[in-house]
């Protein structure tokens, strides 16, 4: 198959989608069809080329675009291939979902900007994975940022959207510039923007670390690593759900890709310092725990999901950190394990987070609300959405035999190999991160019990929830695709890992495949069978059979009788008596109060006497410490500085003349 065709079909289709949207603007139904079908095709093409990248040797192509004497270089290797697969799956499901999601939206506003920017956004992500020179990379990277900004501010009448968009674009710009700095360092070594040359380049340790830090901060800012995560919880909630599914599901993974590409591939770990891995590991641990802790306290559904993305990025980064540490101490096979674990989690998270965001969109669509305190009992009005959403919740809570568990299991296995590195502080750091990972996993389960319980179960807390309705089959099937994949990836990990294995082979010339294959397709044995093994299929089979045994044992027992709820003899409950999102997370708020610094407001109205309470209002706001200690000071400093500059401009004409005069005198006295 022709390289260029293989590489470019996905991007070309995305481009054509963005071109088609304005063309069919007249009839919005047709417009939606054109957009979604083309996007879906583009997703399929991307997945196909990704597979090709994983299974076959690298392919390259050159386009006559870009800077003078430097055309656009494209390259499809294993790393790019893997992330293209990730992109492909999510794009397909998001496209199918959008068919149903956009229709009601089309009633009151033009979809053209949404369509154009959505497609260009996809194009940007595809392009980043394919780029093989710094300029191409940056162009597509920034294209990704800008278009996603436009998606965030799509409903720009709302103040919230504009605020979020501004913060997001600002941080994206800063991140982009940092990455640019990283590339500039690499360029300085060999005076070439081409990745092929950069790979070969030899950097002095100082410059290598410089590039590592610049790239790390730049990509970390996009990936949402704490404390650079501030934009996620603002931007994801306000974006249209199909967009936030892609942003949270894929875009932040593209940042992971960028990190791998620049730090592992271009700079090269062999040039790395020992502390790199430690830094990455620490960042991962902190974001995993603080991400989920903050997620637990949200009651805006999409905001909660955004914070949970921070957590999952943390888990992915922990895997990377372990891999970097092991690889620095020459345990390449363990490094391969680490990288496979984190890539597996990348794939998983892209699936279930996409699913959950689309589910949130469906809820928004069915119950017209994002505030969990207004929901409840949706499982009765929208059963299918609930079922699919439940799959997402179980997967993200890392419960066997679903996919989230596999990747966390692998990460734990990697962490447990820490004794191999003796005599470094890192070997003592790793247990901590393992503990953090465990804590994060447990808290995630708590968090998603809260989500599902409060949103879908109990009784409706508002009229809109009571009148919610199931979404159409397009949205359902859009969610069904990732849900199905969640189960499959949970049950057949070995096959997936055999595919992913191409990446460590490409990056550190070490394969995990042999070890994986040792136990056969049924057994997941990352290091050695006697060391650790896991067979999700059998787990599933046994537990299912046990369940069915228990079920059939008494199927012929007495029939079930439906009766009004007992509730300890208090049958007439009203919805306001049930636990809310806020009250569910109250114990944890109490336990971690020194992290949350909760600001509680309670208002109590009574008829004269303290016991005759008319009403009590209670609201609590949890702080994100990053704001207090990082962002607020920066903002204050800028304000102060700009004020100082403003003073300079308030001078009269004499003052300005005097300035010129002074400049002249100073220069002369300096130079002569």
């Amino acid at each position: 198959m022709n390289n260029a065709l293989l590489l470019l079909s996905g991007p070309a289709l995305a481009l054509s989608a963005s071109a088609a949207t304005p063309l069919f603007a007249r009839d919005r139904r047709v417009q939606i069809w054109a957009l979604c079908s083309l996007l879906a095709l583009s997703g399929v093409a991307t997945a196909v080329s990704g597979m090709a990248g994983l299974l076959s040797p690298p392919k390259t192509a050159v386009l006559p675009l870009g800077l003078p004497r430097m055309p656009m270089h494209l390259r499809l290797d294993a790393l790019a291939g893997f992330f293209q697969v990730v992109i492909g799956f999510s794009v397909v499901s998001a496209a199918v979902y959008s068919v149903g999601y956009l229709r009601p939206m089309a009633k009151d506003r033009s979809l053209t900007p949404l369509g154009v920017f959505l497609s260009l956004f996809v194009l940007g992500m595809q392009g980043v994975t394919l780029a093989n020179d710094a300029y191409t990379f940056m162009v597509f990277w920034e294209l990704m940022s800008v278009t996603s900004y436009f998606l965030v501010v799509f409903e720009h009448e709302n103040e919230a959207n504009r605020k979020a968009g501004f913060l997001y674009l600002l941080m994206a710009h800063l991140g982009g510039l940092l990455i640019l700095g990283g590339f500039a360092v690499l360029y300085a070594a060999e005076r070439s923007f081409e990745f092929d040359v950069m790979r070969a380049a030899e950097l002095s340790p100082l410059w290598a670390s410089m590039a590592f830090l610049l790239a790390g901060f730049g990509f970390g800012m996009k990936a949402g690593v704490v404390p650079l995560h501030a934009w996620l919880p603002e931007a994801h909630p306000v974006a249209p759900s199909n967009a936030s599914a892609l942003m949270s599901g894929v875009m932040i993974k593209v940042a992971i890709f960028g990190f791998l590409r620049v730090v592992w591939d271009l700079v090269g770990l062999e040039q790395g310092a020992w502390w790199w891995g430690g830094v990455v590991l620490a960042a991962g641990s902190s974001s995993s725990v603080s991400g989920i802790l903050l997620a637990l306290q949200q009651h805006d559904l999409k905001r909660l999901l955004a914070y949970s993305s921070v957590e999952n990025i943390g888990i992915i980064v922990i895997g990377l950190g372990l891999a970097m540490i092991f690889s620095h101490f020459e345990y390449q096979d363990l490094a391969a394990l680490g990288i496979v674990a984190s890539l597996y989690h990348t794939l998983n998270h892209s699936l279930f987070k996409g699913l959950l965001f689309m589910g949130a969109g469906a809820v928004l669509h069915g119950a017209h609300n994002r505030d969990m305190e207004q929901m409840g009992g949706l499982i009765r009005r929208m059963p299918y959405t609930a079922a699919l959403f439940l799959v997402g919740c179980v997967s993200i809570s890392a419960l066997p035999p679903f996919n989230g568990f596999v990747s966390e299991w692998l990460t734990f296995q990697a962490a447990l190999m820490a004794p191999k590195l003796t005599g470094t502080i890192l070997s003592a750091l790793i247990p901590f991160s393992a503990a953090m990972l465990a804590l994060a996993g447990a808290l995630a389960a708590t968090c998603f019990v809260k989500v599902f319980g409060v949103v879908f179960q109990g009784t409706p807390r508002s009229r809109s929830a009571a009148e919610s309705h199931e979404v159409d089959r397009w949205m359902l099937s859009g969610m069904a695709i990732p849900a199905l994949l969640c189960v499959l990836l949970g049950v057949f990990p070995v096959w997936v890992i055999r595919l992913i294995d191409a990446v460590p082979i490409a990056l550190i010339q070490t394969s995990l495949g042999g070890l994986i294959a040792e136990g056969g397709w049924l057994w997941l044995t990352p290091i050695a069978p006697e060391r650790a093994s896991y067979s999700p299929l059998i787990v599933m089979a046994v537990s299912l059979s046990a369940g069915f045994a228990a079920f059939f044992m008494y199927r012929r027992g007495r029939p079930v009788r439906r009766a009004p709820i007992w509730s300890c003899g208090h049958p007439n409950l009203n919805p306001r008596m049930q636990y809310t999102a806020t009250s569910f997370s109250q114990p944890l708020r109490h336990i971690f109060s020194n992290i949350y610094r909760p600001l509680e407001k309670s208002l109590r109205v009574d008829h004269g006497h303290i016991l005759q309470v008319k009403q009590v209002r209670y609201s609590v706001h949890v702080q994100d410490l990053a704001w207090n200690y990082l962002y607020a000071p920066v903002r204050q400093f800028t304000a102060w500085a700009t004020q100082a500059v403003d003073w300079l401009h308030a001078r009269r004409i004499h003052g300005h003349l005097a300035l010129i005069f002074a400049t002249l005198l100073i220069l002369m006295s300096l130079l002569v």
């Binding site: 009269r652 004409i653 004499h654 003349l657 005069f661 005198l665 002569v672």
Partner: protein, 219 residues
């Protein structure tokens, strides 16, 4: 034909006189006196130019000498004079810093200019670093006038004094600029003066005063 030595001394004398006029401008309290001294400076400039033209018999320089005399010595001062009369501008020259202080600063500037031009070694047999130093000093003093004087007109005078200093440098420090340049510059100065005139009326008609503090519009 006069000897190089004599020419040199004459030029130094002219430079000294020029500096004197600059200080005179700095010292003035009355608008009319200011304009008078400005005219004097113009004439002195023309004289110097003519001197150089004669000494080195460069005939173009006669033209620029003539231009200097007409423009700087007569036309521009006269224009300004007319404007002052027409607008009945205040007779007092109001200064932001008191005159004595400005004089001191001016003296300091002369020293500074001398210090700056020290490293320049002899350029040609006529031009000495002292002349460059003095020219520099005059430029700086011109700016000083612009900075310290409040009224629009005095600012303009400072500006023109600065221009004079430039011309002086052009003639005394070199054999004068090429004719094209001379004429062009003179032309520019003329336009500038005209535009000044236009401005005064615009300012006057909008602010009914020439005090520059009215020009500070809040933005």
């Amino acid at each position: 034909m006069i000897s190089a030595e004599l020419l040199k001394q004459l030029l130094s004398l002219a430079a000294a006189l020029f500096l004197l006029t600059a200080f005179a401008l700095l010292a003035q309290r009355h608008m009319h006196a200011l304009l008078r001294w400005f005219a004097v400076q113009g004439v002195l400039l023309a004289a110097t130019t003519a001197l150089v033209a004669y000494a080195a018999n460069v005939h173009e320089l006669y033209i620029s000498a003539f231009l200097a005399l007409v423009l700087k010595g007569l036309l521009v001062p006269w224009l300004l004079w007319r404007i002052v009369i027409r607008l009945g501008a205040h007779r007092e020259v109001e200064s932001l810093v008191n005159i004595f202080a400005t004089m001191l600063i001016g003296a300091a500037l002369v020293l500074f200019a001398y210090y700056v031009s020290l490293p320049i070694q002899e350029l040609s047999f006529v031009v000495t670093r002292n002349i460059i130093a003095i020219a520099l000093a005059c430029v700086l003093i011109g700016m000083l006038i612009m900075i310290t004087r409040r009224k629009a007109i005095t600012q303009v005078v400072g500006f023109l004094a600065l221009e004079n200093a430039l011309f002086f440098t052009a003639t005394a420090a070199t054999y004068g600029m090429p004719l094209v340049v001379e004429i062009g510059v003179a032309f520019d100065v003329l336009i500038a003066a005209l535009i000044f005139g236009v401005f005064f009326f615009q300012i006057r008609s909008t602010f009914d005063s020439l005090d520059l503090k009215h020009l500070e519009v809040e933005r």
